[in-house]
């Protein structure tokens, strides 16, 4: 026989404290105020559509002249070299930096957080700001771009490598220490092989990110295809710009396909 009394129903707002409710309302209000100040209105969107269509019309067809294609091929090669060299140097430098900042592994002990803070600083400053700094210090061109990618990669890989090291299996490390292995041997013999898939994945993401970043560095004079794009827009050469955008899209897509395939092979 079923109990005639209804079962107590849980509170619909259960778990939401007054403080959480107030925080939620505040965040919602901030979003609304921000949208009111800076988001496009429907009228602005409606006005912009014809302009956009006119621009797309002036971009078509993309410029396929042989001279122009040869010039952007060289710029694309330079862009790729900036990404590859910057990412490679950054990945290599990230390994010792990650080791120094990894909790439980760092030879610096409690000082590891200082290295972690340094890596955070590298990551927090946007790549275009780094590019401006390096253009100001080493001058216009690809070297400034390579240095930007390097610093950006250290900020990204330094963090992910350190987290992978902290999450590595503890037992093999203890076994190697019991054998008499020093810190460096534990790192090279036990930690790195264990986290190799994670290192490779992070490195491939860094390379992808480097290719995407390197195409825009030219906008501030740090070399690569971005420089051509800026010139094309500055001189209203929209057919050139559309060709450059298509090439950039193809390069980034190709890079993502390659890294996806490589990632699938890592086990």
């Amino acid at each position: 026989m079923a109990d005639p009394r209804p079962l107590p129903t849980p509170d619909r707002m259960g778990g939401l404290s007054p403080a959480s409710f107030a925080a939620l309302v505040t965040v919602g209000a901030l979003v609304l105020v921000s949208m009111n100040n800076v988001a496009p209105s429907l009228g602005q969107l409606a006005d912009g559509v014809p302009g956009m269509l006119r621009l797309v019309g002036r971009m078509l067809p993309p410029n396929t002249e042989a001279d122009f294609l040869a010039r952007i091929a060289l710029r694309i090669l330079e862009t790729f070299q900036i990404a590859l060299a910057g990412a490679a140097i950054g990945i290599v430098l990230s390994l010792p930096i990650a080791w120094l900042s990894a909790r439980g592994l760092s030879p610096l002990g409690r000082g590891a957080f200082l290295v972690k803070a340094f890596v955070s600083l590298l990551r927090t400053i946007p790549d275009l700001v780094w590019a401006l700094l390096f253009v100001a210090t080493v001058g216009l061109g690809a070297v400034a771009g390579t240095m930007t990618i390097m610093v950006d990669t250290i900020g990204f890989c330094g963090r992910f490598f350190a987290e992978a090291m902290e999450d590595a299996e503890r037992e093999p490390q203890e076994a190697l220490r019991a054998i008499g292995a020093n810190r460096a041997s534990v790192l090279v013999g036990g930690v790195l092989p264990d986290i190799m898939p994670s290192l490779i994945n992070s490195s491939l993401f860094a390379l992808e990110k480097a290719v995407r970043s390197s195409v825009v560095l030219g906008l501030v004079g740090a070399g690569g295809i971005g420089q051509e794009l800026k010139v094309a827009f500055d001189l209203f050469q929209y057919r050139n710009a559309s060709m450059i955008i298509l090439v950039i899209f193809a390069i980034v897509l190709l890079m993502e396909l390659c890294t996806d395939k490589l990632r699938a092979r890592v086990r």
């Binding site: 093999p172 076994a175 054998i179 008499g180 292995a181 041997s185 013999g189 092989p193």
Partner: protein, 264 residues
């Protein structure tokens, strides 16, 4: 077969000295709880000692203290001539670990490396040991030595397989080969058969018996399997609440001794 007789020159000098002498050994990780409360223990060369006791009685802690993985809190500890008070000096720990093999309950192999590289890892701590990172950069004599150690545990044909492709029993045998490759005078094993099925467990214990018995290596192992303790050890030491409850030849351990160890 692996030439385990090749030992450091000081072997002859220390042959008659005890391998381990512990007096009043204490260990605590914080001020509130004492894990070891005054352990007295002496182990002679060539003995096979089983350390028994219920969970949390301090067996694993004692083993790790012996080789300085965990520094002792008090008492005296001499292990293979190294004074391990306060964990011992770095040089003493290094000297001790070069003469000691340690096999953990979980084999603790680097799973993405080959079996051969894992065995060569056993030579970390030796001069030039950065080359122990991988079999591909290790000196040829080291590779040969590792293959001999693998042959001793009947796994020479698996040398180039990845460690995680082996069964649990095989991985534990690789861990034993890793301990043997350093030609140790003392082999310490922390519940080496605990993660294995009964047949694999007995095979591993048979291997310990034949390798240690035949070559005069001192063996100190912990076990929850009383059959292993009584069949494979020459002496049984029981720990209870951080103290030695009894220490007697395995043939003289009675059922009441075991009852007192685990239930009393």
């Amino acid at each position: 077969m692996l030439d385990l007789q090749t030992a450091p020159p000081e072997t002859a000098q220390l042959a008659v000295a005890p391998v381990i002498t512990a007096r009043g050994l204490t260990k605590s990780y914080d001020r509130r709880s004492m894990i070891l409360r005054g352990v007295d223990l002496q182990i002679q060369p060539g003995e096979r000692i089983a350390l028994i006791g219920s969970n949390g009685c301090g067996k694993s802690t004692l083993l790790k203290c012996l080789i300085g993985l965990h520094p002792i809190s008090g008492g005296e500890l001499d292990c293979l001539g190294a004074q391990m008070q306060g964990g011992g000096s770095r040089a003493e720990r290094q000297h001790l670990r070069q003469q000691t093999g340690f096999v953990f309950q979980k084999h603790c192999l680097v799973r993405r490396r080959t079996v051969l590289s894992n065995v060569i890892h056993g030579l970390f701590g030796a001069p030039g040991s950065w080359r122990a990172f991988s079999h591909s950069i290790a000196p040829e004599p080291w590779r040969q030595r590792a293959l001999e150690a693998l042959d001793a545990v009947n796994l020479a044909d698996k040398a180039m397989m990845r460690a995680d492709a082996l069964s649990g029993g095989q991985q534990q045998r690789v861990a034993i080969a890793r301990a043997l490759v350093r030609r140790p005078r003392l082999l310490i094993a922390d519940e080496p058969a605990a993660s294995l099925d009964p047949v694999s467990g007995r095979n591993v214990m048979d291997l310990f018996q034949s390798l240690c018995g035949g070559q005069g290596i001192t063996l100190l192992f912990t076990s929850h399997d009383m059959k292993h303790a009584l069949d494979y050890a020459t002496r049984v030491v029981a720990l209870k609440q951080g103290r030695v409850l009894f220490d007697k030849p395995s043939g003289r351990v009675s059922q009441s001794d075991l009852n007192e160890t685990f239930h009393g």
